[in-house]
């Protein structure tokens, strides 16, 4: 019987011009979103390559020059231990000749969502200086018309979060309501057919059509858009995305069934479902955001910068900003690190040593300021994580961004890796400065470089389990409620 219902319903739907219109509109938007995403990813990769090229060239050139100098020195019978300003000087290499380039490239499925990636600085040069050295800080914030940032992008995440539920509701607000109004429902149920079978059949047809559009189209689009599905973790991410889309869709379907089962008129169903959509997608998320920013306001960056600058001013005054040793340097030498003022002057390192000592001082003072800022952000995030259970939209967004690598976690992971690299490079170069050892051509290989380690798929899944589970529970609950309510469904009147 179920098959008969499905076949009949299929005929009805395919004969319905509105259904065709809505489904094709959806397909067009999916295509547009994926096209947009593919272009963005390509542009980002190009920009990254452009950003890195001069630094890579400079690195190669410096290594070549260092080799040349060494050969000349050997030929002239000079010691290789001595060095002058140039590619063999650890400070010169660390500050300009062999700068580290740390880039966050789009994740394998980056074309699916822009997420927060249009806000975070994802290219930076890592030199021998501390990240608190504002004068040479080089993190490049992505540039975009602020109006575009405010309105948001048409990416697949947008289509899935907003349009996909709308499509589901549009096709499902009237399962049997108008058949009841017309009186044909009673006729149909006079046949050997259970109401539940009828409803399930009707829903299944819609699930088939919509899931086909929501799951298959994007995969085809991705493949056509040139996304590398063989990349590490791509399949796990894709599965994560598809699971989220399926469960999110299941929620809206079961919600529609439940509302339908209350036995209101088709118009009333439409209005109720529209209000649900509005509440869950517009009002509740905005209210959550307002609550998070009002309850746990992040201190203004203006305050942070001015406080940091105060530390910089004071440390700078203490360090002195000349070629001679300042107060901090004198303390440093007195603490007996095996380095003397003459050592540093002899290799022209005094200016940078003053600077480094000031930076270290600033870092010590600024760390608590930054920690406070991050604490507030974490509190906000925690609040969002908990209140997110109020709406499937926030749950789904988290997982979709995660799958596309456009969320905050990936960026934080990247930042942590950059910080590690900075630490490693500072140790590498300063160690040579203090030992007054040159960077030979062979040493260029040993300079720590940035190799972004993508988070493991297991970590992504681990973070996504709770929201996915919540979506599943919601869908199951509404489904069960709906089917039970259909037992008491008034078939006439």
């Amino acid at each position: 019987m179920l098959r008969k219902v499905i076949r009949h319903e299929w005929r009805l739907l395919t004969a319905d011009a509105t259904a065709w219109l809505v489904v094709s509109l959806f397909a067009v938007l999916v295509g547009y979103a994926i096209y947009n995403g593919a272009i963005r990813v390509r542009e980002q990769r190009q920009a990254a390559a452009e950003f890195a090229r001069p630094e890579i060239d400079r690195y190669e050139e410096s290594r070549r020059q260092a080799g040349q100098i060494e050969r000349q020195k050997v030929a002239a019978g000079q010691s290789l231990a001595a060095f002058e300003t140039g590619p063999r000087h650890p400070l010169v290499a660390g500050f300009s000749r062999a700068v580290g380039v740390a880039m966050l490239l789009p994740a394998p499925l980056g074309a699916l969502a822009v997420g927060q990636s249009d806000l975070h600085a994802n290219y930076q040069k890592v030199t021998i200086l501390s990240e608190y050295d504002l004068e040479y800080s080089s993190a490049t914030e992505p540039m975009e018309n602020p109006l575009k940032l405010l309105t948001g992008h048409v990416d697949l995440a947008f289509v899935m979060l907003y349009l996909y539920p709308l499509l589901i509701l549009l096709l499902s607000y009237n399962l049997v309501a108008s058949e009841k109004e017309l009186g044909t429902l009673g006729m149909a149920l006079a046949q050997p057919l259970r109401l539940r079978t009828l409803v399930v059949g009707k829903i299944l047809v819609r699930v088939l059509i919509i899931l086909l559009g929501a799951l298959v189209l994007p995969v085809i689009g991705l493949a056509l858009g040139g996304a590398d599905l063989q990349a590490d973790g791509a399949v796990a991410r894709l599965l994560l995305w598809l699971t989220a889309v399926t469960l999110y869709g299941a929620f809206w379907f079961t919600l529609a069934v439940w509302v339908n089962a209350r036995g209101y008129s088709a118009a009333a169903n439409a209005l109720i479902l529209a209000v649900c959509w509005l509440a869950l997608l517009v009002v509740v998320p905005a209210a959550i955001n307002l609550a998070a920013t009002t309850l746990y306001p992040v201190p203004s960056r203006a305050a942070f910068i001015s406080a940091l600058r105060q530390e910089i001013t004071e440390a700078g005054n203490l360090a002195g900003q000349t070629m001679k040793a300042g107060e901090l340097a004198r303390r440093f030498f007195a603490a007996n690190h095996g380095v003397s003022e003459d050592d540093m002057i002899s290799i022209n390192a005094m200016y940078f040593l003053n600077r480094k000592l000031a930076d270290d001082e600033v870092e010590r003072q600024a760390r608590p300021l930054l920690a406070e800022l991050n604490r507030q952000r974490q509190r906000q995030q925690r609040l969002v994580n908990w209140t997110g259970y109020l709406t499937p939209a926030v749950l789904a967004q988290a997982v979709l961004y995660e799958a596309a690598g456009a969320g905050d976690e990936r960026y934080q992971d990247y930042s942590a890796q950059v910080a590690q690299l900075r630490q490693a490079r500072r140790e590498f170069f300063w160690d040579r400065v203090f030992r007054r050892a040159p960077i030979n051509a062979a040493d260029y290989e040993k300079i720590p470089q940035f190799h972004y380690r993508e988070e493991s798929s297991a970590a992504l899944w681990r973070r996504s389990v709770a929201p996915l589970l919540a979506l599943a529970v919601l869908a199951a609950a509404f489904g069960a409620l709906g089917l039970r309510a259909y037992q008491r469904f008034p078939i006439v009147g």
Binding site: N36, E43, A47, E50, F51, G115, Q116, L119, H120, L134, E135, T140, E141, M143, N145, P146, L147, K148, L149, L150, T151, G152, H153, V154, L166, A267, A270, L271, V282, V283, P285, A286, I288, N289, L290, A292, T293, T294, P297, P299, S300, R301, A302, A303, I305, S306, A307, R309, T313, G316, N317, Q321, T322, Q380, Q381, V384, V394, Q397, Y401, D408
Partner: protein
């Protein structure tokens, strides 16, 4: 008669339990958004003022720097917010709050508050403006979609018209009957907002804000009236209440959620802007070429020779001005020209994009009110640019003052290691002050949106009259 119809609609609505629920929700959201916006403004503005003062102290407290290094050390300025931002936060979350002013280069404002927020913000912020722009139209649709179509389905429309009521009066009465309860909802929120403003801030802010708030109220009223007209038109012509609702909801969804995204996409495509890297790389390239054409050493040498000829001296130490300072000044002028070119071109591109987006207001009234509202609230791009340009003028004063010290105070001849700047010199740079542009200036940037908003109103009023004159009775 009009009044009587309006009163009937009004009473019906007030007695409708659903209306009361929805209205209460919208009222709560609006009030919460206003109060939170106001609190946010006060906190951020307080922190900004303190930060600017502290940064001034940093500038004055530094020691042992030669004047030109002090110009490199530079100064940060922070963008002040307008109090009306409490109503419409506009682009604020997506504009950098801090601008570094330093020698040789201009910078873009950095550190957008959005970077410190969670991903939920991408669903949109709950501000008074968002409530008024997005939610109230939906409320209007819910109240109006059945006004003709519903009466027709109940059969009361025929009765009503058989009484000989002019259709115009009927339409006007129904419109007033919807706007009435709406005002009942919005007025208290406005009063709460103005009171909050008046109680917590000084007279100058109140004087600045009240005309802006009044103008905002007017614009939003016109926006709402347009929506009422659209809804009445559709309701009068749609075959059924259900169809009327479907059409209106689709219109709402397309104007409020899809149009902004698509319009900004098209604007980007029509007026492409460089990416951050392209922008920086282009500047760096020209700077490198400039430096290769005339390295700084070379420039100094040329200036030295020129000055010695000009003052007819043979010894460097006899020069009344220091060639180093002169060379810095001349180099700075070239840098400034270079940066001006790139920054103006970037800002112009963004403004062209924004104007293109505004043109979308012809199809989606949301775009017109969004742009106007931001403009009046002082949170649009034009006013951000105004600030950035004021900061740039200040940067020139700062760098010039330092370069003048190198030029006139440093002795020419052998480098004097002991010549460093002191507090007296730092104080010669006045504190940074910024005057926000006035309301007329702000509005001039949005004449297109203004015209479109009024255009919508006029067209919709005409359409409503036509539609109601030919209302479907069966």
């Amino acid at each position: 008669m009009i009044i009587r119809i309006a009163r009937k609609e009004f009473t019906e609505m007030i007695r409708d339990g659903r209306f009361r629920w929805v209205a209460a929700t919208v009222f709560m959201l609006l009030t919460a958004a206003l109060l939170a916006g106001w609190q946010h403004y006060r906190r951020v503005e307080g922190q900004r003022a303190a930060a600017q003062e502290r940064e001034r102290a940093n500038w004055l407290n530094k020691e042992g720097l030669i004047p030109h290094w002090a110009a490199h050390f530079g100064l940060f300025v922070f963008r002040p917010a307008s109090p009306v931002a409490a109503v419409d936060n506009g682009l604020t979350s997506y504009l950098g709050v801090s601008l570094r002013l330093e020698a040789h280069k201009q910078n873009l404002a950095q550190l957008r508050p959005a970077e410190d927020a969670t991903a939920v913000q991408r669903f949109g912020e709950l501000t008074a403006a968002a409530t008024l722009q997005v939610l109230v139209p939906l409320l209007i649709i819910a109240l109006t979609f059945a006004s003709f179509a519903g009466e027709r389905e109940q059969g009361t429309l025929r009765q009503l018209l058989s009484l000989g009521i002019p259709k115009r009066d009927l339409a006007l009465g129904k419109a007033l009957g919807i706007i009435g309860p709406l005002l009942l909802l919005l007025l208290p929120a406005v009063i709460i907002g103005v009171l909050a403003l008046a109680l917590t801030s000084g007279l100058p802010l109140v004087v600045e804000s009240v005309p802006r708030l009044a103008l905002l109220a007017l614009f939003y009223l016109i926006y709402f009236a347009s929506f009422v007209g659209i809804a009445l038109t559709v309701s009068a012509q749609a075959a059924s209440a259900r169809l009327s609702l479907t059409i209106l909801l689709s219109f709402w969804f397309l104007t409020c959620l899809v149009a902004p995204r698509v319009a900004t996409d098209l604007a980007k495509w029509r007026h492409p802007a460089p990416t951050a890297l392209q922008f920086l790389v282009a500047i760096e390239k020209e700077k490198r070429e400039m430096a290769e054409r005339l390295p700084f050493d070379q420039r100094q040498k040329q200036v030295r020779e020129r000055l010695m000829r000009q003052y007819s001296v043979t010894r460097l130490e006899d020069l009344p001005e220091n060639p180093y300072g002169v060379a810095l000044t001349e180099g700075e002028a070239e840098d400034t020209k270079l940066y001006d070119k790139h920054f103006n071109s970037l800002y112009d591109t963004y403004e062209r994009q924004n104007r293109f987006t505004e043109m979308g207001g012809a199809l989606a009234p949301f775009l017109a009110i969004q742009s106007l509202s931001m403009g009046v609230a002082g949170t649009d791009f034009a006013q951000h640019r105004h600030f950035a340009e004021a900061a740039e003028q200040y940067r020139r004063v700062l760098v010039q003052t330092m370069n003048d010290a190198e030029r006139y105070q440093r002795k020419a001849g052998a480098w004097d290691f002991n010549f460093v700047g002191d507090r007296q010199l730092w104080e010669r740079v006045p504190p940074f002050t910024y005057d926000r542009p006035n309301l007329v200036w702000a509005l001039r940037n949005h004449t297109l949106s203004l015209a479109l908003l009024f255009g919508w109103f006029v067209v919709v009023v005409t359409l409503t009259q036509l539609a109601v004159a030919r209302v479907r009775i069966f």
